[in-house]
């Protein structure tokens, strides 16, 4: 819960008498949860009510990423119906807009909100709807059930800050290495990952420039899944490695080309058309494999064992506008 968000008024009801959860309203969208589901309601262009139901675990895992990533790059589809598109100062909230049938039938809805307004609503919804035993950032084998009635909260776990190096992990004044002492023990699935740091032999005075760190060791100590950190930065080139287990809780529709470098184990990706949702390809990535996600696709990954994925992003603030003006290609390379 950041300071800006807390100052924006959020439309919420009192807790439900039996279930214990609040319902929320954001523009023309309504949100409520019960023991098993998130229910999203809206009014279509021609004034009819429409609704959509999502498993509450899937919804909270998606909501967690959308909140933690500040709406990320491009589109964050919670599923084939509902999601957000980041315009970086404002955010579109939509239902059915990127579902070919619902769009053609005119039953979709899209509203644009100032980022602080939607952020505040999403943060409060996430906090109210997440119970004590459930960590939406954790792998399913490492957390409890999202189901049932209101039962405490888990604010500390859902407000973890993203770990963002400005130059390189481990440099003085930059993002710290992870360690047991800092609350980052080695994950069970990475117990065999060597933890030794590189041998450094700096001459006196060059201790902060002769720098290397154990990236795989760092990643083996990630406490979360599907949540990229920044570990090294070259201008606007960001290395965003992350550890993945089970299913990416969102279907990401990037507004720019995104590259994946699979550093260990494997992930299978479903790629579909960003606008319509129609399947385009499967991408099976094993250790050492590199693949690009073209900017016209949406993608969702499946990681059978906790694995290390390097997401490589071009964070140039002008890139999305260049793409929109047709000045930057939607494909990674032409050959």
């Amino acid at each position: 819960m950041n300071a800006i968000a807390d100052t924006v008024p959020v439309q919420a009801t009192e807790p439900h008498a039996t279930l214990g959860y609040r319902a929320f309203q954001l523009g023309g969208f309504s949100f409520r949860r019960d023991e098993y589901f998130a229910h999203i309601g809206w009014t279509t262009a021609d004034g009819r009510p429409l609704s959509h139901t999502m498993d509450i675990g899937a919804f909270l895992r998606a909501l967690m990423r959308d909140v933690a990533w500040g709406f990320f790059y491009g589109g964050v589809n919670f599923d084939h119906v509902f999601g957000t598109t980041n315009h970086y100062k404002t955010v579109d909230l939509y239902a059915g807009r990127f579902n070919a049938t619902m769009k053609a039938a005119g039953v979709d809805r899209l509203e644009n909100f100032p980022t602080p307004q939607i952020a505040a609503t999403f943060e409060q919804m996430l906090d109210d709807w997440t119970n004590a035993g459930f960590d939406p950032f954790a792998a399913p084998q490492e957390t409890g059930s999202p189901y049932g009635r209101k039962n405490g909260s888990n604010t500390a776990k859902i407000t973890r800050a993203r770990e963002l190096a400005t130059r390189c992990v481990g440099l003085k004044g930059d993002l710290d290495l992870r360690s047991d002492e800092r609350g980052a023990p080695v994950n069970r699935a990475f117990a065999d990952v060597p933890q030794e740091q590189p041998e450094l032999h700096p001459e006196p005075g060059f201790e902060n420039e002769v720098h290397a760190f154990n990236l795989f060791g760092f990643l083996s100590r990630s406490q979360v899944t599907w949540n990229p950190s920044f570990t090294s930065v070259v201008k606007h080139s960001y290395m965003c490695p992350t550890t993945e287990e089970h299913i990416l809780p969102i279907i990401h529709a990037n507004d720019r080309v995104e590259w994946f470098f699979q550093m260990c184990d494997e992930i299978h990706w479903d790629c579909a058309d960003k606008t319509t949702g129609k399947p385009l390809a499967r991408v099976i990535m094993k250790a050492g494999d590199m693949a690009a996600m073209p900017a016209y696709c949406r993608h969702q990954g499946y990681s059978p064992k906790r694995s290390m994925l390097l997401v490589w992003e071009n964070g140039s603030p002008s890139l999305v506008y260049e793409i929109q003006r047709g000045e930057s290609p939607e494909v990674p390379v032409v050959f």
């Binding site: 060059f206 290397a212 060791g217 991408v283 693949a291 690009a292």
Partner: protein
């Protein structure tokens, strides 16, 4: 950790890697630029900088580290991630006249002649280790056995592109 819950993390290497691939439903396979760093390195000359990821001015390059590399320098930071083997990185604080004259120049260049300046020190990278190659320093890689590096940098004069050879095309 007991045997029945112990996990084996699968890394690749020059000697042993399994490549995945694109299974096309309705798209061009080349739009996914699918390659594998171990395959690229197994076919590359030592210290060729083979681009296998690019986004505007930025690239990721695969390098087969084998023997002693030339001395490189660059006007911006670069990073080297070791994916297989063992690589030493030696650093020299270049004197101004040997650095890249244009501070905006993208990508690494070869240092002309032997690098002059204070020795900064050296590092030994093993698998999973990532080193900073600080801007305007000279750096040299040394590998006793064939090893694999991935470089995070900008596309420059030494970047080699051969997409049709490294990427899945069908």
């Amino acid at each position: 950790m007991s045997a029945d819950t112990a996990y084996t993390t699968v890394f690749g290497s020059l000697d042993r890697y399994e490549k995945g691939g694109v299974q096309v439903i309705d798209d061009r396979v080349t739009n996914y630029a699918f390659s594998n760093c171990f395959e690229i390195a197994s076919k590359a000359a030592p210290y060729e900088r083979v681009v296998f990821g690019q986004n505007q001015i930025y690239v990721l390059e695969t390098v087969r580290a084998e023997g002693v590399s030339p001395w490189f320098t660059c006007a911006h930071d670069e990073f080297a991630l070791c994916m297989d083997g063992e690589v030493e990185v030696h650093l020299v604080k270049l004197e101004a006249e040997q650095t890249v004259p244009d501070a905006e120049h993208n990508g690494a260049v070869l240092v002309k002649g032997e690098p002059r300046g204070a020795k900064m020190g050296w590092m030994r990278l093993r698998r999973g280790h990532q080193a900073l190659l600080p801007k305007n320093a000279a750096y040299q890689f040394r590998a006793a056995r064939p090893s694999v590096l991935v470089l995070q940098t900008c596309k420059g004069d030494l970047s080699v592109e051969r997409w049709a050879e490294i990427c899945q095309t069908a």
